[in-house]
């Protein structure tokens, strides 16, 4: 069963929630007005506010339910039944998180999952641990299109994230990213961080036999440029599309989630991992399991 997705490569109005919510709604309505109406629209990390807020997360973070209601109120009945994944700074009673919401819009819909970024980037230009709390885990969930997992930016830099998502049954991983452009060496024609993303996302797809969608933020924030360059990969690691640089775009991509099972059969890396996973964990340093001394083996 084909699944039509629109990647919303998106530029927020930084620090202006109302304007950005309006702009999100415009993107959603534009997406559903396309010839192939998508089932799912995927926005980037921190699409609602911009990424570099520092202490401004205190003013800009909102509850997942409030985000869901604000979007529903703006898109009206035309978007009923449409799924969205969108990055935002989330506030709850325990703290502030860099989160991704997955929801089905409309009165029959609701919030299906909120993923909180686990691996908070805190090096170089990044300061996330200073301003937000880390998420506790990575899991997949059943969405209308199939079993899905969400990751946020650096989550995807750790191969264990893809592994956890795939082991929890995901056949498609949505990575919401805000990746500041850096590196201008000749050869690729794109900033170096996108070259790295290309390799990472393709590797996640190939190793686990899953579709991977990477939705990238666009725009400059205090000299740091989010270049766009969103992309999608099939379960064999082939790039299905590459978004433009420096501009917003709605990027349609059609996937057949059944292809994930076929790819895993063809190259059973995932079942190899499944078979070995528990044994590897038990026999690895730090597992807490006392291994026999060499002379006992």
């Amino acid at each position: 069963m084909p699944l039509d997705i629109a990647i919303a490569q998106f530029r927020p109005s930084k620090g202006d929630l109302d304007a950005t919510l309006d702009h999100c709604a415009e993107a959603i309505l534009r997406a559903i007005g396309q010839e192939s109406r998508p089932r799912l629209v995927v926005f980037p990390e921190t699409a609602l506010t911009g990424y570099f807020l520092e202490g401004g997360v205190r003013e800009q973070a909102i509850a997942a339910q409030d985000l869901f209601e604000a979007l529903n109120a703006r898109v009206g009945g035309d978007a009923d039944g449409l799924d969205i994944a969108i990055g935002f700074y989330e506030r709850d009673e325990r703290g502030i998180y860099n989160s991704a919401l997955y929801a089905t819009l409309g009165p029959g819909g609701g919030i299906l999952h909120v993923h909180r970024k686990v691996f908070l980037a805190t090096y170089g230009v990044f300061q996330e641990e200073r301003f937000v709390e880390a998420g506790a885990g990575i899991r997949a969930f059943d969405g209308p299109p199939g079993r899905i997992a969400l990751l946020i930016c650096e989550d995807g830099f750790h191969s264990v994230s893809g592994t956890l998502a795939a082991r929890d049954g995901a056949s498609i991983i949505l990575i919401l990213s805000a990746s500041p452009a850096r590196g201008a060496a000749p050869g690729a024609g794109v900033p170096g961080n996108l070259v790295r993303w290309d390799a990472l996302a393709s590797a996640i797809a190939t190793e686990h036999g899953v579709f991977v969608v990477v939705s990238q933020l666009v725009g400059f924030e205090g000299g740091k440029g989010f270049a766009g360059g969103s992309a999608a990969y099939d379960p064999r690691g082939h790039r299905l599309l590459a978004g433009p640089l420096w501009e917003e775009a709605l990027l349609p991509v059609r996937v057949d989630l059944g292809e994930a099972a076929r790819a895993r059969t063809e190259e059973p890396l995932f079942s190899d991992l499944e078979r070995s996973w528990t044994r590897l964990l038990v026999n690895s340093p730090g597992s807490g399991v006392r291994r026999p001394a060499p002379e006992d083996e």
């Binding site: 807020l53 060496a185 050869g187 024609g189 996108l194 070259v195 725009g219 205090g222």
Partner: protein, 292 residues
Amino acid sequence: MTGAWPPPGVAVARAPDPADASPLDIDTDLVRTWLVQFLREEIERRRGFRRVVVGLSGGVDSALTAALCAEALGPEAVLALLLPYRTSSPWSREHARLVAKKFGIPTRTIDITRAVDGYLEEFEPEADGHRRGNVAARQRMIVLFDQAFKLSALPVGTGNKAERLLGYYTWHADDSPPVNPLGDLFKSQVWALARAVGVPAEVVDKPATADLIQGQTDEEDLGVTYPEADLILHHLISGHGPDDLVEAGFERKKVELVAGRLESTHWKRHLPTVAMLSPTAIGEWYLRPVDY
């Protein structure tokens, strides 16, 4: 550009080597687009300005900055200010005019001699060339910011990464404008991009000079060429120590000279030091980004 990326694997880590300047190679098409987008977004979208003013000295940094601004905003949205002092080289003015003509940028010439000498000649006639250079640089910023205010325009800075790392500029003068497209490009990268953008060869190929003192060139002043300094700086700020570079074949005297300037000018790359008294000290505890 759907499906247009080449395969990954183009970035290669290299050990320091004085004969290998390739770590400084840039994709000039990519950087040109990157900086044009930067200027559009930071000037128009983030700050709401439609016009800019650039001090056009006749050198390559300001020529490239003006050219990028013209590409980003349209040449009519750029005012190039020629701000000569009585000791400025006539070639500087000639080259500035050449650049403005090439990119279709309007110019205005404001001679700063009387303003500078009004202070120096009356109160500080004994001031040496270094002090005179600083006064001229700061006077240029007074004019640049005032003209920007008059025109509801934004001043755009022109300093490059090598100058910034070497501290080779007048503090709170050249580094004052709120937006700077070249500040993360070494001088040799500025040259490469300037050639790609079409800055006239006379401007790109001439010896770099701050033109603050007659006959002065940057490289004589610094005691190291820009290509040498750029490469040493690149490796130093990438985590290699001076001894690593000497061991790799870099000339000790030049490494120490560059490292010395780098290490002694960190203060110059920061805002003034403020005494922190509270847990809401601005920039220490109360943190909001520049574009928030």
